[in-house]
Amino acid sequence: MAMAPISPPHAMGSNRTRTIMLQVLGATLPGVALLTWFFGWGTLINILLASCFALVIEALILHLRKRPVMFFLNDGSALVTAWLLALALPPYSPWWLVLVATGFAMVFGKHLYGGLGQNPFNPAMLGYAVVLVSFPVEMTSWPVWRGIEELQPALTPTLGLLEGLQRVFIPGSLPADGWATATALDVVRNNSALTMAELRATEPALGGMAGRAWEWVSLAWLAGGLFLLYKRIYSWHAPVGMLGALALMSLLFWNGDGSASNGSPLFHLLGGATMLGAFFIVTDPVSSATSPRGRLVFGAGVGVLVYVIRVWGNYPDAVAFAVLLMNLCAPTIDYYTAPRTYGHARATRGMGKGQSERH
């Protein structure tokens, strides 16, 4: 048998798609565990449903496109898209909502552009944005969390598995009141009468740092993200860019704790989907910029847009829209941040690149 000579170094890197995808899934586990603790089975049902839908749709489209089905199913990318999408959707979303979001992400976000590695937009965020625009009522009814009944007896968290399944598969069969509430971002945005201290005392949604329960989930995403950084699945540039820009923006425009407060930097960093976005969404290698410097710019753009949309926009949270808008800018960022190749002259940058190289 002829052995193909392989030149050293014989690195056993963690750079295979499948390994990377599995590690990303593993890093979400602390967050998933906390979400399940606070909100009941909803998150797990979401993940299970979205994963099944995504795998079936992916297999179907690969078959239609005459591509090897098992090869691409095995790389786990469909699973990661579905998983992240499921974490972004509110727990106990009706099954058809999950189906529409996953279907849109897989078909229009990924395969119409040519499959894994070709998509200009983050598929999970595309699916999320479509359902957020289409079904605002379902998408803004976040269930209340474990422990709220001690603060407000009128609200009861959905914790049982059967009750959860009923909410997902037969929506409308259970009373619509008392199980969902506004998120902390909503409360602060709509508040115009109370100071932040008064708001904290009256609104159960607000916790010590950001949203009650939410702040802990955010810290869990942070922990998962640090694990991925340590494993060198991605570099620090995009997350640091996003968190840095968001912190800077919220510090610059922080108008104190009065009734017109835009929220403190800590509130914005630990509120909403900031941490999930910073460590699991903007780090998508396909739809973000290419070079390290480019990723820093990309992340910073997302951070600025998140703040702008949260504070002066119309939507409750902004990560999906910010990421999609920056996806659109990623090719341009790449033009202006081309790094110097070792041993070569400085790279020409900017849009007229091809022309100046010919001289």
Binding site: W96, F108, V130, V131, V133, S134, F135, P136
Partner: protein
């Protein structure tokens, strides 16, 4: 151009050179008002009327108008015709007129109409110009109608809702609820849905065209194989 047969004009207008799917002209009203069947049909009919009238008028005066002033003259004609249609709609279908709003006067700026006036009616006799105008308008209206029906079906789960706005009391209960208890899909009703479905329609047309081409190529290939075998290294036989 002048000796084109009417069947060719029809095929061009409805399919090969379709204003909506191939020339991609007049996208603004196409995407703007295709959110329901009745809107789409209303604007489609209005566009056909304007296109036929303007083509006929332009064709009538084609020898009297010099090149230098032809465009202003065409635009004046189109604007006059559009205003007539607008007044007619205001008189007979007032509610639809209110819904379509700015898109009725905007027919003036629809590129298809000026395009056909300049490219066809200014060089052809009256009758072919009228047929061309009708076929181009019908092609545009058909795309508009399909888009409107698709978006109404997916967006609201109904078909032919509010048709009485256009057709009067006979159509009062034509509303066909295809999916009862349907959740409105706002994304499809809003403009992005129009872009999405437009893209899908264009893709569908290209798929059909490619299949027709492949089938024709197959038919042509079969006899060619039995021909003489002449070796030729450069150039092509003419």
């Amino acid at each position: 151009m002048a000796d084109k047969r009417y069947s060719e004009l029809a095929a061009d207008g409805l399919w090969h050179n379709n204003a909506g799917l191939v020339q991609l002209l007049g996208l603004c009203p196409l995407l703007g008002v295709s959110s329901s069947t009745v809107n789409a049909l209303g604007l489609g009919i209005a566009t056909i009327l304007v296109l036929v009238c303007s083509n006929v008028s332009v064709s009538l005066i084609r020898s009297a108008v010099t090149d230098a002033i032809r465009l202003p003259a065409f635009v004046m004609i189109i604007a006059a015709v559009t205003t007539c249609i607008e007044l007619l709609m205001q008189a007979y279908t007032y509610e639809l007129f209110l819904i379509l709003g700015i898109f009725i006067p905007l027919i003036v700026t629809n590129c298809i109409i000026l395009g056909r006036a300049d490219a066809f009616a200014a060089k052809n006799p009256v009758l072919p110009s009228a047929v061309d105008g009708f076929m181009m308008g019908a092609g545009f209206a058909l795309v508009l109608l399909v888009l409107g029906m698709l978006r109404e079906l997916v967006g609201q789960g109904t078909l032919f809702a509010n048709m009485h706005l256009l057709l009067g009391p006979i159509a009062a209960n034509w509303t066909w609820v295809v999916f009862p208890d349907y959740k409105e899909v706002l994304f499809v009703i809003l403009p992005p849905g129009a872009f999405l479905f437009m893209g899908l329609l264009i893709a569908l047309k290209n798929v059909i065209d490619n299949q027709i081409k492949a089938r024709q190529a197959q038919r042509l290939e079969a006899p060619a194989a039995a021909g003489s075998k002449r070796v030729r290294v450069t150039g092509t036989i003419s």
